[in-house]
């Protein structure tokens, strides 16, 4: 019987090229029609240390869509001995270690790749590893071949040919080994998918939403979003400006937004902490602001390259004083894209701050997705932008919805007056306390508006399950997989996944919680922050919290072990 799923873990030091091997293998699998989910675990250093790149793959349609890491390793690719020492015990009974000749695998079945024989120079090791892996997994060699041609296109035909030669030799070699490893079942035909990380999908979403301005200060694991925007800035027509610090970044975004650009910033917890005053400025000046906030474990510098969901409370309460906001939390690559598009529209609709709350796991996790259909995106919500009766234009006119018509400076005769102090409808500083009350209530009415547009959590399961697993953001995949396994054991399980964390509209989820036999909240933090919010809003207390705060993403097994 052929495998319907396989988990390949590549381990080695930073700088050894494990991400290159992993990435090429991922692309080959995706082009060959398999589903993948990648989990990257790396240290905060450029060379050395111990890093892993896990490629979990599956034949589509056979079982649930893989979307979380798995502990059991089918092929362990060891670029150094340490990888074997650390991970050999995770190799499954039918699994295999691929290693260099000088390494030892102790108890586990291992295949020592004769790199010296296969490659002319050490630099070809990655290609050899790719060949061996494709050979083992039964991936049609046309895929790695095409990838190599693309990868080395700029280096010329000679290099390409040398690599193709190594590839062929490596596939050949492994075919003749007695490794006993079963290849993957062939994947059903499908249109070609993209292989995207969460952050790449967010960047694509921003471009598709018509974001024209991004300023940021580099911070892992958010940086890859502005880096990708910068790479394509001229092509899509965007200003991408590296700021001197996060305070400048958020204040620049507000300036650009005021002037009519669709604008965003991207950061992680520590950088976001510095933006808290700017978030409050967005609140009182009613300036659309999109913040991509990619979480990592804190407090302070914490574990800069690991994952956590510890900053929901911070996003929810950032900023002194009170004002409305929305928080989206994508759980899939598709949601990364679409919620980013939505974030820009909601920010303009309610003229306030909107968060896209992600984390390192999702940021770096490559998965296959259908190309996004750019022709069916929702229309852009845009500022009023008219210029009639400029003399009587009031930026902060009191309205029933709380939203005032937003015109743009220097785009007509209307004067657009924005003020961080409490202000009159025409934007000027005031100490009239009656005006204050009217203005504050006008702003707070937009909370109601955002609530009316809230995305209800996604639910999958029976109406009254014995067990309801609730979660948000990137934990979705692990929770879904846990649910499948529980169902296989006969438990009636429902999965409730929140993609919008604020505002909360209890009507969209409270009945589900109440109908379930037992409600368990799965969150990547210590406190159970969403569970707390739900209790605050509804009084409902979940029965159990499964939390994780060691820097690693959830797996199905982690959840099942704790139920």
């Amino acid at each position: 019987m052929q495998l319907t799923t396989a988990n390949i873990l590549i381990g080695g030091e930073a700088g050894q090229g494990l991400a290159t091997v992993g990435h090429l293998l991922t692309k080959a699998l995706v082009r060959a029609g398999y589903d993948v989910v990648i989990t990257q675990d790396y240290q905060s250093r450029i060379r050395g240390g111990h890093n892993t790149y896990a490629v979990r793959t599956a034949v589509p349609g056979e079982g649930p869509r893989v979307a979380a890491p798995s502990l059991a390793v089918d092929i362990l690719v060891a670029l150094n001995q340490e990888t074997i020492d650390l991970h050999a015990h995770d190799v499954s009974p039918n699994g295999l270690v691929l290693m260099g000749h000088s390494m030892t695998a102790q108890e586990v079945k291992a295949l020592a790749v004769p790199y010296k024989d296969l490659i002319p120079k050490p630099i070809f090791e990655n290609t050899a590893a790719l060949g061996v892996l494709c050979g083992l997994l039964g991936v049609d060699r046309a895929y790695p071949e095409a990838l190599i041609a693309e990868q080395f296109q700029k280096k010329g035909q000679e290099i390409i040919d040398q690599n193709l030669e190594v590839l062929a030799r490596s596939i050949e070699w492994v075919m003749h080994q007695d490794h006993g490893f079963t290849p993957l079942a062939p994947a059903p035909a499908r249109d070609v998918h993209l292989a995207l990380t969460g952050n790449e999908a967010v960047a694509l979403g921003a471009m598709a939403a018509g974001c024209t301005f991004c300023s940021y200060y580099p911070m892992t694991p958010a940086t890859s979003v502005p880096m990708m925007l910068a790479a394509h800035a001229e092509a899509v027509g965007m200003v991408v400006e590296q700021a001197e610090d996060e305070i400048a970044a958020v204040n620049m975004v507000l300036g650009a937004s005021y002037a009519g650009a669709r604008a965003m910033t991207a950061t992680s917890g520590g950088g976001f902490a510095l933006m808290v005053e700017g978030v409050s400025l967005a609140g009182i000046t009613e300036t659309p602001l999109v913040v991509f906030l990619s979480q990592r474990p804190g407090p302070a510098t914490g574990l800069p390259t690991r994952t956590e969901q510890g900053d929901l409370n911070l996003a929810l309460y950032a900023g002194h004083g009170e004002f409305p906001r929305a928080i989206f939390a994508p759980g899939t690559i598709e949601q990364c894209f679409h919620l980013t598009v939505r974030a820009f529209n909601q920010a303009e609709m309610a003229q306030t701050v909107v968060f896209i709350l992600s984390d390192q796991f999702l940021a770096d996790s490559v998965r296959n997705v259908e190309p996004f259909d750019l022709t069916t995106l929702p229309p852009q919500v845009l500022p009023d932008g008219s210029d009639t009766q400029p003399a009587s234009y009031e930026r902060y006119a009191i309205t029933e919805s709380g939203v005032s018509p937003r015109r743009l400076p220097c785009m007509g005769q209307s004067l657009v007056v924005l003020d961080s102090d409490e202000h009159t409808p025409d934007g000027h500083i005031t100490e009239d306390l009656g005006v204050r009350v009217a203005m504050h209530e006008k702003r707070m009415r937009k909370h109601q508006l955002l609530r009316e547009h809230v995305l209800p959590p996604d639910y999958d399961g029976p109406e009254s399950p014995e067990l309801l697993l609730a979660c948000w953001g990137s934990t979705l995949g692990a929770v879904q997989e846990a649910a499948v396994q529980l169902r296989q054991r006969g438990t009636q399980v429902g999965v409730l996944h929140f993609t919008q964390l604020w505002p909360l509209d209890s009507a969209t989820f409270l009945p589900r919680l109440q109908q379930a036999g037992k409600v368990v909240m799965v969150e990547g933090n210590y406190a159970g922050q969403l569970a707390n919010c739900i209790r605050m809003e509804t009084g409902f207390a979940v029965d159990q919290r499964i939390t994780r705060y060691d820097g690693l993403p959830f797996s199905a097994r982690y959840i099942l072990d704790r139920l």
Partner: protein, 283 residues
């Protein structure tokens, strides 16, 4: 040349006798001279007495946070290269809380003009030392006398080769008007530091004190001569040179972003065919 009346007349919250009144007047004159109508420009500021300026004339206004006038000002210009962008803020706002943005803005060289109302004190919060307060001054925050060496904005700006560096005094309204006009006309980042008496909290650097010291720079001074400029910039004491100290001619950042050749960012439809191409790189 426009009429200054188009900028309106507003009641201010400033003390009678405050130098800010004269700066406001000079500013209006400069705008009129430059033919900039209220709707053609954006006036940015932070928080402080000086930072209230944009509320006292007709303009597009971005009155943001204390110390944070420069980031939005630069971004507004980068979002709409057609807009003229001015900044008015205090010495505390610009050189204290906002010091890092001051350094970055000089280096970034976006075409904006920054007018610092330099009263050598924190006015709005009632008299603590600012970065430019003289050593030894006894203030509410340093009853034992200020020990910090005062910040010399001219010296730092010239050392960093900012595009336009000038100084003036609120008591020299024509001079000040001229400095603002030149600053706005000069492309790139322009700084005008304006000596401004605070009658309520700065009893040392009074109108008379400045009047006695502020001396127009000799006409022979060549603002492109960096060494000479450095000397002038570091003069502050018995004599305070006022005028254009230094000029550089690096191209402003807003002219270097290819994206901005097409004008303002506002209202651009997403370039979906370009996005489609990017997307396909991930196949």
């Amino acid at each position: 040349m426009l009429q200054t009346e188009i900028y309106g007349e507003f009641e201010t919250a400033w003390c009678p006798g405050c130098g800010d009144h004269a700066i406001l007047k000079s500013l209006k004159k400069a705008l009129a001279t430059l033919d900039i109508e209220p709707h053609q420009y954006v006036h940015c500021s932070g928080i402080g007495q000086a930072a209230k300026t944009p509320h006292y004339l007709r303009c597009n206004c971005f009155n943001g946070l204390h110390g944070r006038s420069l980031p939005p000002a630069q971004a507004i210009k980068l979002a709409n290269p057609n807009a003229v962008v001015l900044v008015s803020s205090g010495d505390g706002c610009s050189y204290g809380e906002g010091g890092n943005h001051f350094l970055a803005a000089i280096r970034r060289n976006v075409d904006i003009t920054v007018i610092v109302h330099d009263n050598q004190i924190y006015g709005l919060t009632k008299g603590q030392a600012s970065p430019t307060t003289a050593e030894g001054s006894k203030t509410k925050s340093q009853p034992w006398g200020v020990t910090n060496q005062p910040f010399n904005p001219m010296a730092v700006a010239v050392a960093m080769r900012a595009n336009f560096v000038a100084r003036s005094f609120s008591g020299l309204m024509d001079h000040l008007t001229d400095m603002i006009v030149q600053a706005v006309r000069h492309p790139g980042f322009s700084l005008v530091d304006v000596m401004q008496p605070c009658v309520s909290f700065n009893k040392i650097n009074t109108f008379a004190w400045y009047k006695e010291r502020c001396t127009p720079i000799d006409a022979t001074h060549d603002p492109s001569n960096w060494e000479a400029a450095m000397q002038l910039a570091s003069t502050f004491g018995e004599r305070i040179p006022v005028g254009v100290i230094y000029k550089n001619n690096r191209p402003p950042l807003d002219t270097m972003y290819n994206t901005l050749a097409a004008g303002p960012l506002a209202g651009r439809a997403p370039n979906l065919s370009a996005v489609e191409k990017v997307m396909h790189q991930f196949r």
